[in-house]
Amino acid sequence: MKQKMTLAEKREAVWGWAFIIPTMLGLLILNFYPIFDTIYQSFFKTGDFGLGNVFIGLKNYQDMLFGSGKAELWQSLWNTIKYAIIEVPFSVVISITLAVFLNRKMKGRSVYRTIFFLPMVCAPAAVAMVWKWLYNQQFGLLNNVFHTNIAWISNPNIAWACIAIIGVWSIIGYNMVLFLGGLQEIPGDYYEAARIDGASGIRQFFSITMPLLSPTTFFIVQTRIIGALTIFDLMFMVMDKTNQALNKTQSIVYVFYQYSFTNGNKGVGAAIVVILLVFIMILTVILQKLEKKLVYHN
């Protein structure tokens, strides 16, 4: 039986809505509307300046998935997955380790935490520019310090890994901060009890820290996978458009940018983005199903 709200509850509800409205409006206007507009545009051959759109149904999807754009689309999707395969596991492992070490009482702990967080503060464009010159085959620091002549970003076989290393480097700080937050939640009693029972540091880590940290880890892995799949700026800024390795490195969002903005073909671009959206949704569903098995809840 539905209960009627008291006056006090009604007032609270009104105030609740009042505080939420700004964010809701922003979400609706700046997020939901563009999503539906993009899906809508993917069924059109878009004209200049948003005028003269011609409805062509599923042709954009057919072209990109099975037709003329097939090689480019599937290769770039695979490139993006390769990037995610390096960025997510490495950054999570490194940042968990760092977070655990920086959670103890030690001298200069804040300084170290700040240093590891600094890459997040730098503008992505600046980061890309610096790494571009680090990786330069002729003049780059890496080749000149180690006296090698490796084509870090021009060799199709390794260029994607080198770009992914930049991604790992820049996201470690962010992951570390989140893990630190998760670590604070773990009561110290567990560690005390384990110490009394004679468990080593590593044993404590795998038996206490990892399970109790799993909600945080799951959250970070899920958001980082989504973030890695939408990578664009690193490839765009580090590699010139005539780079030999571009085909084996360009991400799917890079292909989207080329079609939508360089070529002005926003309909095809919208279709590419929708394809990526569907892919990410499928992945998320799979991850959610895994959550019940992997994440330890009290």
Binding site: F49, Q137, Q244, F261, T262, G264
Partner: protein, 461 residues
């Protein structure tokens, strides 16, 4: 104690707000490495200029440009106009990459700048969508502006269905840039006015072989150096990247293949593609690792202000002796040229003032001033001599000599140029032959591919 904390918190909050406001207030003329005025080197976007302002009513005109190097000169000319008209001119620099995004979103949102630059890549699109102010009536009434005084190709570019939508602002040509110090070091004769591309090949070969130990190459050209690079060689042999009616190409013809074969030959003695792709020919040249490159007049300032500019010399663009008679005949020496146009927004609040400013920039007087200030070579025929003398200590006569001794061809464009232009520079276009210049088959096949790419792109427009 509590009050002190409150005061500190308030003070910090105020500083933060003040910081945000001044940062967003936008300083005009944002620094950028100044993409070239007509080609616009797309690499290196630098920092963003401030946002393009809205078209302003009352006593101010909003002008958008993308080349930071031209800002001071243009502002000086604009200020002279302000003295006559009483209307302030606010010039905004937006880097090349963002310029078009900003303009098109401004067009869709109804907030374009009042006066701005137009370029061949997008001119047709803007004109056909009625976004530019029709200047016919203004020009007819204006006795200072007569379209016959400007370069025909540029006038035609900004003319749609018989109406004129922009007036030529400048034009540029291509010349051969060489490093005299490197030529002396490796004992090679420096370029002269009768050099052919074969001579370029020979000189580049000598320098590359002699300079191997130092990592020096005789020549450098990337597949993306089109207007300033290989387009010129191709056209010397009689082919056209885009035919005069802008609806086709002859790049896959016998002449086209002969031209690209010459390019391939030069590539065998040039810096490898991976090197120029990672570092860019301009950086390599100013690092004294390239003997020669070809470049456009919009890049003069970059080399003039470089560290070793005393060694850098501009020579006349070489020709291709196609008929083998030992002299340069008609059509054997070609240079690409392009010209920006000054256009006004169709919806600007003060069209009379906007036209008046454009007229001032493009009048003979304004064009001469522009050349004197070293801004760019004039769109007005015959007003560019001052530009040649604007850079003390450098001989820039190669840029005007090519117009007398060679033929100019307009930078190839179609309605949606970037689609095929980018495709030519990537895998499936000319990238493979650039990576493997030893194989003539690759270059020949690439010419056929290019023919198909361009024809398909035009069919889809």
């Amino acid at each position: 104690m509590k009050n002190k904390k409150r005061l500190i918190a308030l003070g910090l909050a105020a500083t933060m707000v003040a910081g945000m406001v001044t940062a967003c207030g936008g300083d005009n003329g944002g620094s950028s490495n100044g993409g070239g005025s007509s080609e616009g080197t797309e690499q290196g976007s630098g920092t963003e200029g401030s946002d393009g302002g809205s078209s302003s009513g009352g006593g101010e005109l909003q002008v958008n440009i993308w080349d930071n190097y031209q800002l001071d000169g243009l502002q000086a000319i604009a200020d002279a106009w302000t003295e006559e008209s009483g209307i302030k001119v606010n010039i905004n620099v937006v880097t090349w990459d963002s310029y078009w995004t900003l303009l098109s979103s401004g067009a869709q949102g109804g907030e374009m700048p009042d006066v701005f630059w137009m370029h061949s890549n997008t001119a047709q699109m803007y004109m056909e969508n009625n976004l530019l102010l029709n200047l016919d009536d203004y020009i007819a009434k204006d006795d200072k502006i007569d379209m016959a005084n400007y370069y025909e190709g540029i006038v035609n570019l900004y003319n749609s269905n018989g109406s004129q939508y922009a007036i030529p602002k400048d034009h540029d040509t291509i010349a051969l840039l060489y490093n005299e110090a490197l030529f002396k070091k490796y004992n090679v004769d420096t370029p002269t006015d009768d050099w052919t591309w074969e001579d370029v090949y020979e000189a580049a070969k000598k320098i590359t072989e002699a300079g191997k130990a130092d990592g020096v190459y005789g020549y450098g050209v990337n597949v993306s150096n089109n207007q300033d690079g290989w387009y010129n060689i191709l056209e010397d042999y009689g082919a056209q990247v885009i035919t005069d009616d802008h609806k086709g190409t002859t790049i896959g013809s016998e002449e086209g293949k002969a031209g690209m074969e010459m390019v391939r030959k030069i590539l065998t003695v040039s810096a490898p593609q991976s090197v120029v792709a990672e570092s860019g020919t301009d950086s390599l040249f100013t690092s004294n690792l390239l003997g020669m490159i070809t470049q456009g007049s919009w890049m003069v300032n970059t080399y003039y202000t470089a560290e070793n500019s005393a060694d850098y010399k501009w020579a006349l663009l070489p020709y291709a002796d196609v008929n083998g008679n030992g002299q340069c005949d008609e059509g054997e020496r070609k240079s690409a040229y392009n010209g920006l146009g000054w256009a006004a927004s169709a919806n600007c609040s003060n069209p009379d003032a906007a036209y008046s400013l454009i007229s001032y920039f493009c009048s003979e007087e304004g064009q001469k001033k522009q050349a004197e200030l070293g801004v760019a070579m004039a769109g007005y025929v015959g007003a560019s001599d001052a530009f040649i003398n604007a850079f003390e200590g450098t001989d820039l006569s190669a840029f005007t000599k090519i117009e007398e001794e060679g033929t100019l061809f307009f930078r190839p464009y179609t309605r949606n140029t970037t689609v095929w232009e980018d495709a030519l520079q990537q895998a499936g276009g000319f990238l493979e032959p650039w990576q493997n210049p030893e194989d003539p088959e690759l270059m020949s096949k690439a010419c056929d591919n290019a023919q198909t790419i361009i024809e398909n792109a035009i069919a889809n427009e």
